[in-house]
Symmetry: C2
Amino acid sequence: MNYKIINGKLLVDEGHQIVIKEGDLYVRDKILSFIAPASEENFEVIDAKNKLIMPGLINMHSHAYMTLMRNYADDVEFSKWLFEGVMPVEDRLPAQAAYWSSLLAFSEMIRTGTTCFVDMHMYHRQSPLAAREAGMRGYIGRGLVGASLFEEGNPRFREALAEKEEFESDTLQFILSPHAIYSCGPGLLKEVAEQSRELGLLKQTHLSESITEVENCLKEHGKTPVEYLADLGFLDEQTILAHCVQMQGDDLDIIRNSGATIVTNPASNAKLGNGFAQAAEMVEKGINLCIGTDGAASNNTLNMFREMTLLSLIQKGIHHDPVSLPAETVVRAATVNAAKALGMKDRLGVIKEGAAADLIFLDLDTPSMFPANNILSSLCYSAGGSEVSTVMIDGKLVMRNRELLTIDMEKVYYEVNKAAETCL
Amino acid sequence: MNYKIINGKLLVDEGHQIVIKEGDLYVRDKILSFIAPASEENFEVIDAKNKLIMPGLINMHSHAYMTLMRNYADDVEFSKWLFEGVMPVEDRLPAQAAYWSSLLAFSEMIRTGTTCFVDMHMYHRQSPLAAREAGMRGYIGRGLVGASLFEEGNPRFREALAEKEEFESDTLQFILSPHAIYSCGPGLLKEVAEQSRELGLLKQTHLSESITEVENCLKEHGKTPVEYLADLGFLDEQTILAHCVQMQGDDLDIIRNSGATIVTNPASNAKLGNGFAQAAEMVEKGINLCIGTDGAASNNTLNMFREMTLLSLIQKGIHHDPVSLPAETVVRAATVNAAKALGMKDRLGVIKEGAAADLIFLDLDTPSMFPANNILSSLCYSAGGSEVSTVMIDGKLVMRNRELLTIDMEKVYYEVNKAAETCL
């Protein structure tokens, strides 16, 4: 289906600044265009009066399968959360439950304006299966652990490649996902770096999330986690580093020089007691900063609007500086910076001639957006996600006027509830 | 109208813990009861299947008239925000605009589950007029400044008393509201303390919001703002102190011993670069801690659910402690603690035999609340406010199934827009 979107206000990133423009926007063969086609015969008209149309948000770090564990293990110490809360559930959870849990995640993402997610999952085939069903754009990785990708008895890398083989499409891409330096040996991390180059795949890992991780790494290797990864040849422009809360010494410079991206997860980092990332310093250094929600077991929602607010407010509070991480910088982190990290500059995260049609429509006539004194500010400081009324991914409507078109919520609620009752 | 609410889950604070109960809840003559009346003839049945019914949230610090300035002066230094942003607008704003701006505030409060607010306003009659129209429960104060309540040419205290005379009712109460120690002389502050005792009125003020305020007070009086107010005889159980971000020395002990309440405003404090209040320490000391949004010019929303999340996450992050300010403590701060501060213990902020019927209904079948592993956690960590579907204040429905029943939003948008175009 082709669309002609009329009467809307368009959020357009012109590189030096983000501006609001008016005018018709066409979606032709899943691609955005400002140029009227020769014939508009096959174009459905969408009237976007009183709507802001902007690029869909990109959630750069998530674990969709964990959504079942939302609000399950809160207000407890980190080790209790992980070893008595999350991990025993993961052992009990049937793969099918991860599928329904992922669909629940995508329903929440779509309803709050996320059109693309980066995932690290633990259940073969379930995340891409659910993402394909929901019509989400995803960069999906099977979590890898152990000493080597090619160990006997460790099927994860094989499964990761099989998923790529089965599911790779215009909207689903795959990303090598070693879990962390404490769950992966140096051999495996080197192999991932090699495979990344050979296969032309992105790679992601959790890094410097907690003080304990950094202390242990210093003790064991005499290096910070960042130095350790750098020395293994892991850091380059194809690398996405989730968290980076505990940065020491030259860590930020090493990351900046490598061209790697940092994904900050303010809610999760605060909630688990890991603290606040130096996000403003990362931006000042010229590091490509993106935003993620992490999983629902540590956030406890997958709402990028809430995450944008948190990111900016926390930085302003830490630095006693109301100018720190302004709205425009934060909106860029959730859109164009993410596209850059994914190798999709000018194709994702923007409304631009030739970009993919990943769009969200927000109601401007809703209290939190009103009056529209500064729309960029409202996206960062007052929007809560529920202003999103219509969502298009890769040219396909997945929500229209708050009605989800690709996900049967009654079925999702039924199945997630059943799994929660059995496994939690 | 009397109501019988069936099939809902009720959030009941039993003092030692908050629990979820099932059972019918009656609203008879604006009062809650679990006891079936002799005849249910005049009771309308509300089916609350898949809903959580809880006491309405109490926003303990707001400036409803400022909602017009939402997203108006962001990402600028504090003095620029105040002297070039907010204050010139206040000078230009006609009183009528404050009325519409307040109605916009109440529409947002109701939609996000706030049933009662404490206000400090600047436009004679407009806040109570709008609150009465919207059916909000309010504790409203005309901002007081100057050397004395009884100065010639300063009509504010007279106006405050006239408002009380005109508007006082079951739902609208009045609160003496000297603006701050830097805008009120010591004589006025003493007079307010006397009038508070004589008239039996609560009093509120902004206190220790910024480092500059504390430094200036130390320079001028050789005391912290808290010590200064204590020495003026201002602090007692009738006192509500907004902000208290910059606490020094014995400040917290002085407040605890006085019985005064602190209202923390995490979004506003962070956003204006004032920092993070020591909220966890306040609770540990036994201070009655409540939550406010402050005005929309510094938040930039009036959503108590967002404020609860921020409060808890920021404290966990600061203290590197996932156990800091747990969900139950935060929910109490937004309900029963507020009722206590307002002298309405057991009558507001609780579902209890004989309490006022200020209730909110939340959809449990919505992604952010699902699965319902821990409802208290969801209120603090995953709810965003849009889960609120129905709101009752003083036994009257003001929103039903997301439809506002007391506020004509089209008119509000039209009038606020007109005022914004003229004054901003």
